[in-house]
Symmetry: C2
Subunit: 211 residues, 2 copies
Amino acid sequence: MSIHYPSGQGPVHFQKPLVNKKTSRYQSTYSKRGMSLEKEINESNQYYLATHQAVIHKKPTPIQLVKVDYPKRSAAVIREAYFRRPSTTDYNGIYKGYYIDFDAKETRNKRSFPLKNFHQHQINHLMACVAQGGICFAFIKFTTLDLLYLLPATKLFEYWQDQKNGGKSSITLATIKKDGIKVEYGLNPRLQYLPAIDQLIAIYEKGEKHE
Amino acid sequence: MSIHYPSGQGPVHFQKPLVNKKTSRYQSTYSKRGMSLEKEINESNQYYLATHQAVIHKKPTPIQLVKVDYPKRSAAVIREAYFRRPSTTDYNGIYKGYYIDFDAKETRNKRSFPLKNFHQHQINHLMACVAQGGICFAFIKFTTLDLLYLLPATKLFEYWQDQKNGGKSSITLATIKKDGIKVEYGLNPRLQYLPAIDQLIAIYEKGEKHE
């Protein structure tokens, strides 16, 4: 095994510390931000994998290794490393022959979703995947309302460009309701997002036929 | 940002230490094994991305975080963490609307490729992706011969099953030449593997029509 990183990508400073303590022992819930949606999606992915419906995984967070110890007769221990900014979105995989690519984002807002949750590199990656024919979207959760939507990447690009041209810095919930596909809760998996992807695929195939 | 791992996946002990020193400062070439093929593939991927031909990335190695420091006014420092066994292959992405998934493997052997380079979880992952219609393969390099092949995952499954039934523990180069698609070196990128994927896609489409 060897690890290589694209050149010019040094360690990044995250905008916020993941927890507020100076030093903390890691727990499974070390960050509130985005936690519950990610957990829900990961559980759905495990269910979809086990039932042969889709193969979608969360990508590991890239790490810049600096120092690693190799104790005798036990596992290698990373003693100094830094988080890196990912060059892609968090999730990708395959469903019914389609390449699936998305990022999961949460907001506690009740009326709109702030575009600052996205970064230019994520938009660039989604654009490159859309150009290759991928089914790409943002998985958005309004946590206080418990509302979930898949927002097609092509719509996200419009709002992103509009913002760069001095337009609104957020997408209203009304707009997301209009442009997005609602994700319903169920029993198993709790988060049933493949039916919403089916709708995105139908929209994509319809768009392809118009060309 | 939050990180979750599938349950039941504790830190893994790698078969070999990545380097032989007890403690080592990390360098860009900290492991010989698999290094040059991975570097070649990563460079090709960067070229294919920049020229809008394909979006294929190497997945980061998953890490189990244990202790992280958050110094004031500087980046978070990982102080204790362990390597985890990935649950997927190393590379995936999209090309011409097709989901692409593969692992890169090198051997210094001149006559055959040892199947012990693969692990059951990688085979399982490739099987799940093939079932969804992905273009899946092993990217195999005979380093001393400088020969490269894409071996279709479906062929790999046959040899893997044969080995489990007491058959041969390696695939001969002659077999790989027969069942695989040769990858040619070029100028830019040095490793021209998209034309080989085109051939795999043609084989896949032909197979689909026979159904």
